[in-house]
């Protein structure tokens, strides 16, 4: 896929996840919208995966440490054919396997996550196994910025460079909001990039809602021999839906009928703009 097609795909995924959350009347809207571009770049361009064989030994691994933002992941896995798209209608309903967090009963999900601060350590283990086995797969771990307050994140942050895991990529969805408000008011993180660098990571800071930057940053991995990479993806929580952008209330707010129509209209307009540019065939 080229960049324009990737951008169009991200818009489609946003529309899918909003409809899914609206239908289920539950979901984490804000954080899913902020990380949709990251996941689109990874799943449609960067990662080596095989939807026919989700356990393919050489596949790149993705761990959603911020497991509450599972909605974009469910929509992408369905779109790629890991499971039938109709199953999205069961999201969060009684007895479903598409629960509100990653669930490895579903093809394409590596590990069950949802308690914050677990993902990076798991990813260190996976990347370490690749090194010990002489395999070339890479491990991508998406974390929240609020999640950085968990001490376990920093235990794993110490371990990544110690084991020289240049096949490991930590990604922080730096949308600057958590549930109670701004990360800097709740538990200040800055200077966050310097902290990761001081722990021995190769830190790359980008606009995390910009497809070109994402593809470039992820495509370069392994970037520095012997060092894990931390991609500081500066994003907007609620990205793509004007009234949800940068509004902490939308962390787990569910759109009503009017809000859904407005959001879909905004996203359709963005899609049309892409098409008008005559670049999507």
């Amino acid at each position: 896929m080229n960049h324009i097609e990737l951008k169009a795909k991200a818009i489609q995924i946003r529309m899918d996840l909003l409809k899914m959350i609206h239908g289920a009347k539950t979901g984490h809207t804000g954080g899913s919208l902020s990380n949709t571009d990251i996941l689109t770049a990874l799943y449609y361009k960067i990662m080596k995966i095989d939807q026919q064989n989700s356990k393919w030994a050489e596949r790149d691994r993705f761990i959603a440490s911020k497991g509450h933002s599972v909605e974009s992941l469910w929509c992408i896995l369905a779109d790629l054919g890991f499971f039938p798209k109709e199953e999205l209608e069961t999201f969060s309903q009684f007895g479903t396997r598409l629960i509100g967090h990653p669930n490895n009963k579903v093809p394409g999900i590596e590990m069950n996550t949802g308690a914050l601060g677990h993902g990076l350590a798991i990813s260190v283990g996976m990347a370490l196994a690749a090194k010990r086995d002489g395999k070339s797969y890479r491990v991508f771990c998406l974390m929240g910025d609020g999640e950085q307050a968990e001490g376990s994140v920093w235990e794993a942050a110490m371990a990544g460079p110690h084991f020289k895991l240049d096949n490991l990529v930590g990604i922080i969805d730096r949308n600057r909001l958590q549930i109670s408000g701004s990360t800097e008011e709740v538990m200040g993180l800055e200077p966050l990039e310097e902290k990761w660098a001081a722990f021995g990571w190769n830190v790359v800071s980008i606009d995390g809602n910009d497809m070109e930057s994402l593809v470039e940053a992820f495509g370069a991995v392994p970037t520095v021999p012997g060092k894990p990479t931390l991609v500081m993806a500066n994003t907007v929580k609620g990205k793509g839906v004007s009234f949800a952008e940068n509004n902490p209330a939308w962390h787990h707010h569910v759109p009503n009928d009017t809000q859904l129509s407005q959001a879909l209209a905004e996203l359709s307009a963005a899609l049309e703009l892409l098409q008008q540019e005559g670049r999507v065939r």
Partner: protein, 311 residues
């Protein structure tokens, strides 16, 4: 129909008590909204601490505050507070004897479709294995109010578990005395006893009514404190009613049922049934759907009772 969730009652009660008690403190872990503690944060900023998403840190900080004479109330999701920070609870709170109140919010299967990471159905088992830690589950808003007042006066570590949504009233008013460690017999009866805790007390009361209609006399005990356990109430129920059913929003391992069974086998052996969540990740769905699936409802309790009595 009551619409006030227990977490809101805790906030309102602490707000009132904090007017005259500058040592009461509330701590949250990015959970002031989910714990309904925003009004406290706004009214008493100097008695409020936000630690971010850091459940181990929140317990350690609270132990330090308590050591300095404060009365910290930690409000954080029950699943993380009870188990993510269990070592801090064991060592910094229980072992060191600090006066920390740990309020686990959205406990049991309140978080429904968020799955096992967010369900808190092992917390009673874990908390009650810790020496010196009291474990309390209030049944409704009235009890929650009286419990909160008792907690402020109580010296020492307590783990409290409440659910997310408003529950139907169990008590007609808050006009009774809540004593940590002392069970409340809500209905007297002679054929069997249902012992319940937290939000399942309401289910037990409804079952009592259903049994009464078919001529069965059922005692209902609200075991709001799992630890220290009111052994005397259990032994008396076993002697006087000869059959015991326990019901809880918790794994059948290590919770209320197990605690009651430990007393029954050692003092007054009678037939017992334990109703709760089996040894599996609880199925996803709304609390009511999950309860239905696992037989935590009146029809099933009535069926089990009649079967026990050979009727």
């Amino acid at each position: 129909m009551n619409t006030i969730p227990n977490r809101q009652v805790i906030c309102e009660t602490l707000l009132k008590l904090a007017e005259t008690d500058p040592d009461i403190m509330v701590l949250t872990s990015d959970s002031r909204g989910s714990a309904a503690m925003a009004p406290f944060a706004n009214a008493f900023p100097n008695q409020f601490v936000e630690v971010g998403i850091a459940e181990q840190n929140i317990v350690g900080i609270s132990a330090g505050l308590a050591h300095s004479g404060k009365k910290p109330f930690v409000t954080s999701p029950a699943c993380f507070l009870s188990m993510r920070s269990i070592e801090q609870i064991k060592v910094d709170v229980a072992y060191s004897g600090t006066n920390v109140k740990l309020v686990g919010i959205s406990g049991g299967v309140s978080y429904g479709a968020l799955g096992m990471s967010h369900h808190s159905v092992q917390d009673i088992a874990v908390a009650r294995a810790i020496p010196g830690l009291a474990v309390v589950l209030p049944a409704d808003r009235h009890e929650t109010k009286r419990m909160t007042e008792a907690l402020v006066k109580h010296q020492g570590g307590v783990y409290v578990r409440i659910g997310r949504n408003a529950v139907e009233d169990v008590y007609e008013s808050d006009d009774y005395e809540f004593i940590i460690g002392k069970a409340v017999t809500l209905r007297d009866g002679t054929d069997l006893t249902i012992i319940a805790t937290g939000e399942t007390v309401r289910v037990a009361l409804d079952t009592q009514k259903a049994l009464q209609e078919v001529g069965v006399s059922c005692r209902v005990i609200n075991m709001h404190t799992i630890k220290p356990l009111d052994e005397e109430a259990i032994i008396r129920a076993a002697r006087e009613t000869g059959h015991i059913i326990t019901v809880e929003e918790h794994s059948i391992f290590g919770g209320l049922g197990a605690a009651v069974a430990e007393v029954v086998v050692q003092h007054q052996l009678v037939p017992m049934r334990i109703i709760g969540i089996p040894d599996e990740p609880a199925i996803a769905g709304k609390s009511s759907e999950v309860f239905k699936h696992y037989g935590i409802h009146t029809d099933n309790l009535k069926r089990v009772a009649l079967e026990m009595l050979g009727k």
